[in-house]
Symmetry: C2
Amino acid sequence: MTLSEEDYIKAIYHLGKGEQAPVSTNAVAEKMDTKPSSVTDMVKKLSEKGVVNYRRYKGVRLTEYGLKIALSIVRKHRLWEVFLVEKLHFSWDEVHEVAEQLEHVKSEKLIDELDKHLGFPKIDPHGDPIPSKEGEFKKAVKKLLSEVLTGTNGVCVGVKDSSPPFLKFLDKNNIALGDPIIVLEKEEFDGSLTIKINNKEMRISEQIASNLFVEIID
Amino acid sequence: MTLSEEDYIKAIYHLGKGEQAPVSTNAVAEKMDTKPSSVTDMVKKLSEKGVVNYRRYKGVRLTEYGLKIALSIVRKHRLWEVFLVEKLHFSWDEVHEVAEQLEHVKSEKLIDELDKHLGFPKIDPHGDPIPSKEGEFKKAVKKLLSEVLTGTNGVCVGVKDSSPPFLKFLDKNNIALGDPIIVLEKEEFDGSLTIKINNKEMRISEQIASNLFVEIID
DNA sequence: ATAATATTTTAGACAAATCTAAAAATTTGT
DNA sequence: ACAAATTTTTAGATTTGTCTAAAATATTAT
Ligand SMILES: [Mn+2]
Ligand SMILES: [Mn+2]
Ligand SMILES: [Mn+2]
Ligand SMILES: [Mn+2]
C-alpha cells in the first residue's frame, strides 16, 4: 500500500468505529482534508484491491483484509507514540504528527523489535489500545466523564480528542492518565462538573468532560 | 523536499565524494536505479530550487544549500542505523533498507532527541561518520586494507561496500569493526593478503581487502 | 579531422493523487 | 409526492515522478 492509501484506510477504520457502519464519502473527505471527488477516486481503487466494499452512493466499509491492514497501521502509529514519549521525552501532544509519518515505514522486524524494546505496551500515551501483531486488542471499558453519575469514583484512562490544544489544557491543569477522579456535582444548567482529582477540587466545562474517558471503580 | 528529491540529493552527495567533482547524469541514474532522462528532469527541478548547479551536458553538483540538505539526510540515516543496531538488535547488514525510509521523517525534535538517546554517537555501524546538527564531521583518517604496506599494524574501522552480502561475509569470518589487524603478507599474483586478525591468521582476497578500511597504528 | 560510439537531453506518454465544475442520485421538508 | 437541498459521482485538468524513443551533443578512435 502507498502512504496515501494507508492514510485513507486508517481514516475509514476510525470513522467506522470498529468496522461496522458504512462511512460516507464526505466524512472521509473531511477527516482527510481532501475533496469528496478525490475520495471517490481512491475508494474505487481500494475497492479494486479488495480493501473495501464500495457501491456508489452507498458509502464504503473495510473488508476483513482491509481491517487487518488498518489494525497494523494503528498498531505502528501507537507503538511509535509510546516510543516518542517513553524514550525520546516527547509530550503527549507532540507525538501524533510524527507518528503519522513513522507509521508508514515498512519493516516487520522494525515494529516487532520496537514492541519488545518498549516492553510490549498495551496502551498508547492517549489511553488508546495497541492492537497485537495479530490485530487483537480488548476494547477498554471506559466512559466519557460527561456521561457518568454524580458520585462516581473512577480513574482517568483516556482522551477522546487528542489534539494538542486539549492535551495542553489537561497538562496545565495537572490532569493526567491514571489520576483518580470523583464526580462531586453536576451542574444542570451548563453541564459543567465539579470533580476531585489528585485530592484537589476543580470545576470543568461540559466540553472538557465530554472528551475525557474514565474507568469506573465500584 | 519530497522523498524523491531527498534521495537524489543524497545520491549526488555520495557520488560527489564530499562535494567537489561534478556528477554525471548516468552515474546518478545508475545509483538511483532510474533512467538518465528521469535524472535530467529531476536535476532541472533541483536547479530551480537552488539545490544544485547544473549546466546541460556538464553534470551536476550540490550548492552550499544542497550540501547542507545532503548532510542533514546523511545524519538522519546514520543515526537511525545506530538506533536499529544498538537499541533494536538489528545486525549491520539489515539496517540500510529501513534507514532509507526513516531518513525522510520530518521532525527536528525527533532527530535531536534520538541523537541524545543514543549518546551522541560519532560513527554509524559501518564506521561512517555522523555529521553534527551543523553539518560538521571530521573525515576519518582511514585507508583501504588493499592499499597499505606489508607489516602494517592497524584497526578495522569501516567498510567501503556496505551491502548485506559483504557484511554477512565479514560476520561469518569473525571480522568486526574495532578488531586489530596486521598485514603479514601480500601476494603479488592475485593481490590477496595474509592477515592476522583477533590473533587468528587468515587469507583474504583482493576484493575483500579493497572494501575494508583500516586506521594505521604506528 | 572525421567517423563511430557513448552520453545526455528533449519530446511525448503514463500512472498516481489531487483539484474544479457540472451532472446525477439521494435525502429532506412540506 | 415532489420540489429543494444535499451528497456523491463524473469529466476533465494539473502536478509529480517516471518511462521510451528519438535527437542533440560530447567523446574516442582511426
Ligand atoms: Mn500517516
Ligand atoms: Mn494516540
Ligand atoms: Mn531514502
Ligand atoms: Mn551506514
